[in-house]
Symmetry: C2
Subunit: 446 residues, 2 copies
């Protein structure tokens, strides 16, 4: 497939290329283009023309889009950029180097240039950064027949015409009407009569994660974005939310695993090393604390060397239980299932789960240790230490993310480092501490 | 708010309740209802009537829906269930106890009963389980004017009329046309002339995770579901995919943390303990392997007790690095960024990242150990052991999920148990093994 495509581009077979994009969904056509060089993609666009290539080009991977722009002749570049949807275009311009950006902006009309420059000023995680300015709108006094005519004219340039926003003459959002409502209404009825006036909207500076929560709460196909004066400035559509949800889930999983959110499966080896080592060094610091704890019990360990082989069990199981509580709480915070009010019940429950899981697992481990070492005191110490450490695990697993959220930080950020430090250090301290106290005083040797 | 609502229900203030649902989005109204008892929600439905209550009721939490049904008089129950969208209704019936289910099915007409019984037979993770049968359809020979008339009639009972499916007279899916296309077309044109014939569809037994990937790939608002004979049987809409994406992300995070996917933040304490202890015991088994490894080096440890405090560092850092590689690979598999072909590069890269991170972190740790213990051999052993263990971490972090996927299992299922076992046991083995060999032979004591 790709070879045929490459050949068609090199031999200038325009008709063949037009058939290629006719036959495939733009997303699939773009997947094929992704294997080509920027020079070849540029050739493809030149041959079939920017307007034919547009939809496919918008699905091409971002990096390839950027490189392709550099290969396009001025006239074609100008057309292509003018046709692109404002949000995609702004994202692209934002990523260009200074020189390419200047070259590109110079080609555009003033209004387009200003639109781009405005869109790229919104913070990365804000509604403004994700919205498109290509929304369909109507005025309230228009009759439905006329409204449908206006939509026919607007449609080709709009992201969606299924939700149509009703604005007054200073662009303030006053209502919303769906295309379905318009189809169902009487042609001579004014839009104002059928529009919904309780419009739910988000602010341009709202966090996109919050916007995603609202859109999934209401099952909206699109969400209107307004400025502080309630003027409509853009919309966010359901497909943007698909992307946001994937990004947010990746972010939470990465933070729980102490990974930089910039890392991707395709990141180069040196870059991956550079992104991971700082987190590993943070982990090393907490490991040093745990190590120092152990070193304080050198004497006990050298007398009862069996403790050295049992202590990783106490710490390891605590780490696992801590991760369990942490993950449940982080996920519940992300999905909005708990908020920062009323979380003492969450704390209490996770601690309780730790207590009872610890009692059960500790009893089992105590039994296994008895079978191995036939020392009832050692088994008792294991039971107590594991119970105590799983209480620590539940408590910290819940407390750390809730505290981070209270401090307005991401609940997953670095939380596993804190929790692991608590369960490692706690596990060693309780197990070796109890052993020192009990074994030394009660027994002479093991 | 809730108190006013409760009062209105108890005093039978119908008008007030109608205003309540008029003012709020159904999702928000349902959130208020969620604080009421099933008896009160039933009273609410009886007062305003099933057709007015329908949209709000469909947003009420699932458990409360179930309990409310039991409180409704037969006539109201019958109306409400008939009005509900087929997918929501089938989900609800599936969860009812035998008796309630029989009672409810007996109330319905034969066609509705059969529709429900058919929908509940699809496996939980299949496209069939998520689809609705309320899709809008047309025949290809119909003119656009007539098509719009038909849609006006269909619309109130359909999940969406924005995508309209074109079927032949045996219901085989032959084309798709958007409402936008219809609005833009000439009234006398037949639908066949403007429909897209390259229809992308999924099979009723396809995995819903795969369907979600395709819908986000194509940015579809709805995806048609066909049976093995290519007959249209339902559609899956974007809002179902919102739910699927959240569920899938939760599932992956839970599996990586060794949590049962049935656990929720609201799960009761005893139930949480019951769900977590089995996973903790699996972890205990792997911890026992690591513990056994350590016990094999008792003699070395009792001679050089410093090893006991350093060994958790080697194992802990390995665990962290293993989780990093594991998370990157699991996420890439979930997002379809890598498939089971061509993954030797992934393995090689993760192992390489382990090698270089290990060399860097090991060198730093070696330096710290030298500052503490001033023994160059000990520092060298630490450096070597950490490098070796981070190679193990990268290799297993990539290999375990890829192997699970090859075996057609979930790549996240139990993978962290395997990886932790590899890095714990590997870390202790390499560090204590090297120490035994080198320290004992080269040095007399430490």
């Amino acid at each position: 497939m790709v070879e045929k495509l490459r050949e068609a581009i090199h031999s200038g077979a325009r008709q063949e290329l037009l058939e290629f994009i006719e036959e495939l969904h733009p997303a699939d056509a773009a997947e094929q283009l992704a294997s080509l060089s920027p020079r070849e993609v540029a050739g493809f666009i030149e041959l079939i023309g920017p307007s034919e290539a547009l939809f496919t080009f918008e699905f091409v991977p971002f990096e390839l889009q950027k490189e392709t722009l550099k290969e396009l002749p001025r006239a074609i570049l100008k057309q292509l950029i003018s046709l692109m949807s404002p949000d995609d275009r702004a994202d692209l311009v934002e990523e260009l180097d200074e020189e390419s950006r200047e070259r590109l902006l110079a080609l555009l009309m003033k209004a387009e240039r200003q639109n781009i420059l405005k869109l790229i000023t919104y913070p990365d995680d804000s509604a403004g950064a994700y919205m498109t300015t290509d929304y369909a709108f109507l005025h309230p006094e228009v009759a439905i027949r006329e409204a449908l005519n206006q939509l026919r004219l607007q449609a080709p340039r709009k992201e969606t015409i299924y939700y149509v926003y009703v604005v007054d003459h200073s662009r303030r959002l006053t209502g919303i009407v769906s295309l379905e409502d318009l189809i169902m209404g009487r042609p001579d009825q004014p839009v104002a009569e059928i529009m919904h006036t309780n419009v739910i909207s988000v602010r341009v500076d709202d966090d996109i994660e919050q916007v995603a929560k609202e859109m999934t709460h209401y099952d909206f196909l699109a969400m209107p974005v307004v400025d502080p004066d309630q003027r409509l400035v853009g919309i966010i559509t359901y497909d943007d939310i698909f992307d946001v949800m994937n990004e947010e889930a990746t972010e939470d999983m990465y933070l729980l695993a102490n990974l930089d959110t910039d890392e991707k499966i395709t990141t180069s080896l040196p870059q991956s090393v550079k992104l991971r080592v700082p987190w590993l060094l943070v982990n090393l610091c907490t490991a040093l604390v745990a190590s120092y704890t152990v070193s304080q019990f050198s004497e006990t360990i050298s007398r009862y060397v069996v403790l050295a082989s049992l202590m990783p069990i106490v710490a390891g199981l605590g780490g696992n239980a801590g991760t369990q509580s942490l993950t449940v709480v982080v996920r519940a915070l992300a999905l909005g299932e708990i908020d920062i009010r009323g979380n003492s019940r969450v704390l209490l429950k996770q601690t309780g789960v730790g207590l009872f899981s610890g009692l059960i697992c500790g009893l089992i481990m105590g039994g296994i240790a008895y079978a191995w070492y036939a020392n009832i005191w050692l088994s008792l110490i294991l039971w107590m230490a594991m119970t105590a450490n799983l209480i620590v695990a539940g408590l910290f697993g819940a407390m750390v993310p809730i505290t981070l959220r209270r401090l307005n930080l991401d609940p997953a950020l670095g939380s596993s480092v804190f929790v692991t430090m608590a369960t490692d250090t706690g596990g060693f301290l309780v197990f070796l501490g109890l052993s020192s106290l009990l074994l030394r005083n009660i027994l002479g040797t093991l």
